[in-house]
Amino acid sequence: MTAPGKTFRLTIAAFLVARSLIAINGASEVDQAIGLSFEKDIAPILEAKCLGCHNPNQQEGDFSMATLEAIQTADEEYVIPGNAEESMLYWITLPLDDGEAPEMPEEGDALTEEETKALAAWIDAGAEWPGGLVLKEASKADESWWSYQPLSKPKHASLDAYIESTLKTNGLTLNPEADRRTLIRRVSLDLTGLPPTPEEVEAFVTNPDPQAYKNLVERLLASPRYGERWAQHWLDVIRWAETVGFETNFLRSNAWPYRDWVIAAFNDDKPYDQFIFEQIAGDTVGEDAALGFLVAGPANLPGQIGRDEAAMRNARQDELDEVLRTVGQGVLGITVGCARCHDHKFDPIEQSDYYSMQAIFAGLKYGDRRKRGSENDDWSARVPAAKTKRDVAKTELESLRSEHQLRKPLDTIHTETFAPIEARSIRMRIAATEFGSAASLYEFEVWSSSDNESDRFNVALASNGSQVSASSYALMNQSRHFDNLVDGTVDKRQAYPWIANETGPAWLRIEFTDATIIDQVIWHQGRSSRDLPAEYVIEVLPTDSEEWREVSHTRDRLPRTSDTRKVEDIDLPSIGLDAKKSIVEKIRALRSAERELARLSAGPQVYAASFAAEPEATYMLRRGDSMQRQDEVVPAIPAVLGQLEISDGAAEEERRLALAHHLTQPEHPLTARVIVNRVWQHHFGTGLIETSSDFGYMGSAPSHPELLDWLAGRFVADGWSLKKLHRLILASKTFVQSSIPRKEALEIDADSRLLWRYPPRRIEAETLRDSILSASGKLHFEMGGPGFDFFNQRGGLTDYVPKETFEEEGWRRMIYAHKIRMVSVDIFGAFDCPDAGQMKPKRPRSITPVQSLGLLNSPFVNRQAGFFAERLQREMGDDRGAQIDRAFAIAFSREASPAERERLSVLVDDHGLEQVCRVIFNSSEFAFLQ
């Protein structure tokens, strides 16, 4: 690593020790006679050079150096007070005789001579260690790390001046400007992810207007295709997907509005500070879809989490961890997630910072929320009418009910009361359920009869000694077992319902320990209303008889609104068929009125963060273990970034507002630098900081630090406008220069990091697929809404079968593909398309034979090659040369050379035009931005 970390090391150490000392009262100075203070002179050395490995968490070599006691317990010879020469801590840090590095520290820099001398003096003076002082590992970078500092003052007046100055230092110069065909192709692919049409190319190439290039950039920035391209970059960073991930990978069916929100934000040039603000606190300004950001990551479903306390707490910690990573890496470029289990090893982020930041989101929940806006307003306006319709249907049904003297429908927690009877057993015989599903109940209570309410008890409880049985239980698994009927709990996180194994009639039976006088049964709905008993009798076995006696039935009950049985399946012996028919019709009408009312009342939904008004408490967790809670923490950002302006006992919303305001301060050292660098990365292939979500110690050093600051300053001054930033970059000589390599420059800078040429690179998966469709003429420009499918299923367990052919819907731009986490897309997944498991701020650009096989042999590509050939035929007739020229103009934005024209004409003659199109889709030129 280069200088910055090291030059400030002393400051760091002093800072850390000072910090450690706050907790210690009256820490004593060591022997003043030797002029050394343990706190100032010794502790910093140990913290910076030893504690990295010998700390209480890691205990390399099986010991920690956090306290003298720990060191001496490990081995008395490590530190022998008064005898430095014999103390291993001292001699092991000395260089070896042959000039080789000392044995310790094994990692990092050796101690300086000054430091070893100080160490010796301290040991010789008695190795006094102030009581209670516990050393902490020093992070490699401290608060003085460059990315936490304010922007540096501008040094040059233009982007090119910064680039050219660094080039000059390294004996390099910019390439000449690229030709216009190359340029329009480059800027079109870069801004919109699509190649220019031949007409656009010709218009640009022949345009004498000196403003031609500027106008071209304006046209592309104004195109809706721009947002579709650049939104993808943001979705990569935050690993957005439309399934939950993990084993079940269930569908998040309302996630797509967030994707559309991002696309619109780019197209509208929403100021970046506002873009961030809304994604943290959009609920406060009516931008609910923006909150999809916070829950972009994977999260296990409650049903997939163990019933044990540890599993439930861990799952919650994992959910919130994903949020912290999204915000930390996505917006700030800090890897705050690294401090979940211990202080960050590299950056000045303590474990307490992690949990304080987590507290900001303590109220956050994953799931659907209402999406306000014009659609919502429209729905809301329709609620009163829907309500009236529902009320009318309800009244009509009610009058039918009283006309036919039916009892009111069953409840989901239903109470049947009957004349007191002494019984030994009770049974329920279920003839049918509402939806025809297998019967299910959560709990079945049987209450003893008594005038005194406090004397009544639930006879059925297993804990009262009763025995339960049932016709069957599903899957031979306890989570559906009939024991659940009498376990005394209906808590869905802790207990399960009974579910019969098959549909159709089912029964349950409970034997009491002693004959008891009973007068009431309460049963609770099982898994869902689909399996609610709709038709049943309850019978008891009296003490005085061997015959079951009926105590309640459903023969004169009006079916529930949710009951979907057919007329002929409903047993209401007291009324005629016609009456039954009209009742069922009215029920159906009421059901659909209620459903519509519920839908309109709930409003349109988006999968986005929602928030509990009363956030749960947040604790420090020892080593990140959710079962080892320590002190409660209050919301804060990492101390290195300053502090949030929030009041004591801040409410949920206030916490996020404070964070959003903090992140969007014009002088924030990270927010602008991070986004400016991301934009640079997508224009040039690599950021000024290569590690675009990590501006910390482990991140790469900036190739042009002053340029980064200059761009960030301009960006903020320009109102956080991304389009203005694009204009600034695209207008530069650096961007418009040719990509042709020069031998001597390659020798100095093979990776073109200093930008002596425009760095060519393979295009991304989405650009490749969209370009194929564009060339074939089949690209379908429908924007927004639910995505198209790459697979036979949209979520759920594994075994996804890729679709091989598509029709118009599937010829939309790839950003509109329904995104399934952890499932690689057919053909294009091999082109480093992110799987949305981990955040991917920068895609690798691998080149593999699997890519080649997919492009050569897949039905998708070959069908599009066929369409491309048809298009050429249609547009150019049978003229071979014209067909090939047109193909080149569409695919490569240039004419074919005579040699190419000749070579490909032979291929057309022998094997057909389709083969030329197939070859073009496979060619490097088609797949590269040059």
Binding site: M1, P4, A23, E247, I740, Q851
Partner: protein
């Protein structure tokens, strides 16, 4: 400083450290930038034109290739390899001290003895149950680890941990790490192959063979005896002449383009990747031609079985052998599909006896056949066979069922072949098989040991991602030296 932050905590003295500026970086020289990037890349240098070229390990390797047999759904250790006489003695009684134990699905019932009889096997007399008698015959070749643990008791995260080193999605799989580190001995076949069970994809699906944040070149290629490599064959509508002519024209165009960019590695790599694809098209059909295997070999694996699932899994095992024989570096062989309440995999919550009898029949002879066949061909000297699952199962039945709940506290995996001590057992669970109590081993230890046998130091095999030099073993892992030769 206290470990918690009160509101209005003291503002750090920012001026004192803000006085530093970025000036120190302003004149950063290119050489420094490059040196830094080199220093970071302790990880292998990949030749873009030939990503699968064989690469040197960190030190001399004992094993050249690896086959991982992974039992999806969590195979019960107490019913297979971990013999617990006390469990038999305490059958039907509550587990002392854990009467109220809540595990993944809820409360548990009484201790339940193994559902299959254990017998001594081989010269070592290792006690192995009748569920896996053929594997039992190979006991003297195997090094058992009885003290494996997992941090999650949920299938998905636990499977992720076993195959990628992290419970979360999106980290590179073990095979991708090995492919990245070592490349392959055979340039005409994929270096890393994932063979799915004939009954379906395993739990966590493609995350088991994903490249994560490593380049896509290193992801596993899924295919099996019943499911060919996708798009390997030219479209049926094109003759081989047509295909050939197209390939030649493509090469012509690509060379024209590359000539305009002399020295561009990526363009050269792209031409190479088409050549490699062409060679793969020629080599794969030969490698997967199981019909060429003689009858006695098919019989050894059980590929002649009337049980279709068994025969198909046996063919997958033969395929695994044929692949390592041809130099494929890493083969995953899945046994069991996804979550189906134990019907298609080892997740025996409810009806363990009935379900495991079916699964055991499919697993046992083919895996034993693979070990025997590798041995008789001398391939076991250079191939490491790994047998793993995501966690074990409880020594008791779940309350009210005939099966066992998830148990991440202790379970068995094993290694056999190159560099592994044969016929030994390492680590121990308590007397009922509930919890690992001796030489407790984590998945990271397991991975560190596998990498070690391949000549790789798990602490040096790294790749930078989002702030950290990532490793397969996270920040953990110790090589289990006691089981190495």
């Amino acid at each position: 400083m206290k470990h918690f932050k009160k509101l209005g905590r003291p503002m750090l003295d920012r001026r004192s450290f803000l006085s530093g500026s970025v000036q120190g970086l302003a004149g950063i020289a290119l050489t420094k930038l490059m040196a830094e990037e080199r220093a970071r890349a302790a990880s292998p240098k990949i030749d873009a034109a030939n990503p699968y070229a064989p690469r040197q390990p960190h030190f001399e390797a004992k094993a050249k290739n690896v086959i991982v047999v992974f039992c999806s759904g969590a195979l019960s250790h107490v019913d297979t390899f971990d013999y617990k006489p006390e469990l038999i003695r305490h059958h039907g009684k509550p587990m002392p001290g854990s009467e109220e134990l809540i595990s993944f699905q809820g409360p548990n019932g009484n201790l339940t003895q193994p559902l299959w009889k254990f017998r001594p096997r081989g010269q070592s007399g290792k006690m192995i149950s009748d569920l896996v008698p053929h594997i039992g015959e190979m006991a003297d070749e195997i090094s058992f680890i009885h003290s494996l643990t997992n941090t999650s008791n949920t299938h998905g995260p636990a499977v992720n941990l076993m195959n990628t080193g992290f419970t979360f999605d999106g980290f590179p799989s073990m095979g991708a790490w090995v492919n990245f580190a070592l490349g392959s001995e055979n340039q005409n076949l994929p270096a890393f192959v994932a063979i799915e069970d004939p009954r379906g994809n395993p739990v966590s699906g493609p995350n088991n063979w994903a490249n994560g944040f490593l380049p896509a070149s290193f992801q596993g290629t899924p295919f099996s005896s019943t499911k060919p490599i996708r798009y390997l064959d030219r479209p049926a509508a094109f003759s081989s002449d047509t295909d050939q002519a197209a390939s030649e024209a493509l090469r012509f165009l690509d060379e024209q383009n590359a000539a305009r960019y002399p020295g561009d590695e990526e363009l050269a790599a792209r031409i190479s990747s088409y050549e490699l694809a062409g060679r793969m098209q020629l080599s794969v059909p030969e490698a997967v031609d199981l019909d060429s295997e003689p009858g006695h070999i098919r019989k050894l694996y059980g590929a002649d079985s009337a049980n279709e699932d068994k025969a198909a899994f046996a063919k997958n095992c033969i395929l695994a052998r044929r692949l390592v024989e041809r130099g494929v570096r890493f083969v995953q062989l899945f046994n069991g599909a996804y979550a189906t309440m134990g019907r298609l995999n080892w997740d025996g919550h409810g009806a363990m006896k009935e379900q495991y009898d079916i699964h055991g029949e499919i697993l046992d002879q083919p895996v034993a056949g693979l070990l025997k066949d590798l041995k008789q061909r001398g391939l076991l000297d250079e191939t490491l066979v790994v047998f793993a699952t995501e966690f074990g199962r409880m020594p008791m039945f779940q309350m009210g069922t005939q099966g066992r709940d998830h148990n991440p506290h202790g379970f068995t995996g094993w290694l056999a072949g190159a560099g592994v001590k044969p016929g030994v057992s390492y680590g121990r669970t308590d007397e009922f098989g509930f919890k690992a109590v001796e030489d407790v081993a984590t998945p990271h230890d397991f991975h560190a040991t596998i990498l070690h046998l391949l000549g790789l130091d798990h602490e040096r095999l790294t790749y930078y991602h989002n702030g950290i030099e990532r490793r397969l073993t996270n920040v953990h892992g110790h090589v289990i030296r006691d089981i190495l030769t």
